[in-house]
Symmetry: C2
Subunit: 168 residues, 2 copies
DNA sequence: TTACGTGCAAATAATTTGCAGTCCC
DNA sequence: GGGACTGCAAATTATTTGCACGTAA
């Protein structure tokens, strides 16, 4: 996990406090609208050419509040934003950013794959009714006791998903 | 399935003792090797006709030790056991058993869907190298502190996956 | 220029579905 | 006998890939 520097380099880019459907957690305000040159820098830092489409996607991903999206969702967002990119490129870009450690993949139900712009250790609520993914901001939830790991293995990561359904 | 060593090294971690595949409804201790009529009963109890293929699949699922499998794996097992069933039927059956509460679906990486014969609350290790799923038997791991659930929602289930990789 | 990036369409992979034939009660 | 079940193949869905063309360094 190569993330400490990346972490820092991105901190400013995030807007931790926007439209979380459910509990949003407050944090310091990001720069107004994540300027172009931040995304640019971000891309450079991981060795990706700041092309038109990558800039646009990076801007959509990190500039706005949206934090958990599928390729399809991002594709639609881009299209709506008059930034035509092909779906294939969206997939490619998401995968490249994930490999670079700027995004984290979350699988919750076998079908869709979500990408989370928050790469720090944290867990998720999954709203079964709306198929929405939301960060759990409560830090106490995090691993109070690590299970005994078998010989020869080490923990790569812990994924926890608390599935929620609407009370009837 | 190249896992014999892994099998052994992890044996201790499994809740071998509680081999109650038919748990939930039946509860009574499993007879030696889960004979036909147990599977039969199990199917009846959830309103599924005990057909040849369902009996065979049920026998493979609950009679043997294998506890986490994909449709493809079960299909292969069945074929090897000279019980020809179509892959579609395997999928159908797995879904029916899941709906009936006899199996639990676990998604770990977007691509494959695993079915777990243990439907009690528990978590998993996922061996990234071998793509194997193993129960975490440590009950202490379970919910030490439930996160604050947003208004109007209730927890449907908590899925935790501790991803392990081989130490280099 | 020149390797890298993009779009499109075709290719995969996993799973579901339509429907004709089969089996259980 | 009649509806539940099965198998096969075709259909879906999500994602990847091959390849000709465009573009940043």
């Amino acid at each position: 996990m190569p993330d400490v520097e990346i972490e820092n380099s991105l901190k400013v880019l995030r807007d931790d406090d926007s439209d979380l459907p459910i509990g949003g957690h407050g944090r310091q305000a990001a720069l107004t609208g994540c300027p172009w040159h931040d995304v640019n820098e971000m891309l450079q830092s991981v060795g990706l050419r700041p092309t038109r489409q990558r800039m646009a996607l990076g801007w959509l991903l990190f500039g706005k509040g949206a934090r958990h999206l599928t390729a399809e969702m991002l594709y639609e967002e881009a299209t709506n934003a008059k930034v035509p990119v092909s779906l294939a490129t969206v997939y490619n870009t998401l995968n490249q950013l994930t490999d670079a450690g700027l995004l984290r993949q979350v699988s919750v139900d076998g079908t869709k794959t979500y990408f989370d712009t928050n790469v720090t250790a944290h867990h998720h609520f999954y709203l079964e009714n709306s198929h929405e993914l939301v960060d759990i901001h409560d830090p106490h939830l995090m691993l109070q006791k690590m299970p005994e790991v078998p010989e020869g293995y080490e923990v790569s990561r812990v994924d926890m998903v608390v599935r929620l359904r609407k009370k009837r």
